[in-house]
Symmetry: C2
Subunit: 228 residues, 2 copies
DNA sequence: AGCCCGGTTTGATCGATGTCAAATCGGGCT
DNA sequence: AGCCCGATTTGACATCGATCAAACCGGGCT
């Protein structure tokens, strides 16, 4: 599945260093991790790995988006997480199991850094800085995955979309305009919706001042969204 | 919220040591953690902590079940996880944030061990054994929470119930009989269902040989459940 | 600028699950 | 053993979201 790779160059090392995962590190710990990183480019729709394969590596997204999903027996897919640039994924397998428990697919052309699980596991038990970085990443992911469960169980489609828009707006108040960073397709999966349901959710938000044109979303009043 | 506590006694230290979280530890790391543990007894329905409170401690269940849940703006509750004896909960806040992101409630009379987050955080950055135990616990929880998301998105109510029963059966094949460890109420929340939906799921499983009487479930053929 | 294809929206329909209310059951207690 | 209360089941209904099909649009290409 994986293409040609190369060791991370200066620019890529810079990107990696600014990542939440690595930004707390310095000195030898950082250097050893950066040295062990291999960068791959993958075409849209290519699989980084598939469920069931031996878990040999975890990854950090440098550019593009990566989709984590699982396939049911009858072939339907459910997204687990959409990984943005800077996100680490499959790090739960450093101390978590022998095989990948889900598949990872490039949602568009992506560039990702690969870390060897074995190596990083050894690094983690030697260097508490590395362990701390891993614990922080795991905690963050666990909290956001718990949020995902709760959102699914508690909110309707329009509420989830409103939620997403609010978070994307940052602290903006009053009117706002945002551009989706990826296809609506992906957003739908990320929110646990069929594409049609996402579309209908957007159109139901129209009556409270949300306008959609392509990837650009105009929000009349962010406060109004919070009421949903 | 919390009652009188006492330092873990011999029996309780034994229970804790057999826990997945602590079973990999030994020597001073184990001793220091056990020494720092305080044991609380709580009545059914009492809250261990509530969402929004400062996250000062995480816990390990010694006996009984603890429910982690969040409340929506309109007062509905969604369960995030049901913690069984031996489970650790809220450990995602050791390196994860200032406040509890969900509430924890005793589902019945429970006994829990409390660990100070500050203390354990310091222990974790000194002792890689401790860090490893935390990473393993976090990884396990992250994986099971991802499973939860996928189950919600991919499976219907009868499928989720069948799944639960299969896992409870262990590797049993053919006929099996199991006793639910808690009220159906709790099971419903754990599977993301209303109690009525759980009840209907059980009755839809009747036609493939599942019989329910109180907490006792008779399964005619475990293989048949897997087909659902 | 116009074309074209894949992504998106819309419409119609169905199945699944939440909700409310009432009937029933089960387990613990005396 | 029988009683009683809360848990569970059942029924009726409303709602949400999935699915399939068809129309539409937008962005990238020439």
């Amino acid at each position: 599945m994986l293409d040609k790779s190369h060791k991370a160059n200066i620019r890529e090392r810079g990107l990696l260093t600014k990542t939440p995962f690595l930004s707390a590190l310095s000195g030898t710990a950082l250097a050893r991790l950066l040295d062990s990183a291999h960068v791959y480019s993958m075409a849209a729709r290519a699989n980084v790995f598939r469920e069931g394969e031996p878990a040999l590596a975890f990854y950090c997204v440098l550019s593009g988006y990566v989709r984590l999903y699982r396939v049911s027996r009858d072939g339907r897919q459910a997204d687990i997480r959409i990984c943005a640039p800077g996100d680490v994924f499959a790090e739960c397998l450093i101390f978590g199991g022998e095989k990948y428990r889900f598949s990872a697919q490039a949602a568009e052309n992506v560039s990702i850094a690969r870390f060897d699980i074995q190596e990083v596991r050894e690094l983690a038990v030697q260097d508490t800085q590395v362990a701390k970085a891993i614990m922080t990443a795991l905690s963050t992911h666990l909290l956001s995955t718990m949020d995902c469960v709760v959102n699914d169980r508690l909110h309707t489609a329009p509420q989830r979309v409103a939620d997403y828009l609010i978070n994307r707006c940052g602290a903006a108040t009053g009117a706002a305009s945002i551009r989706l960073p990826f296809q609506k397709n992906l957003l739908a999966g990320m929110l646990g919706l069929a594409p049609e349901a996402l579309s209908r959710a957007f159109s139901s938000l129209r009556r409270i001042g949300v306008t959609v044109r392509g990837r650009v979303i105009q929000i009349g009043d962010v406060e109004a969204l919070r009421q949903i």
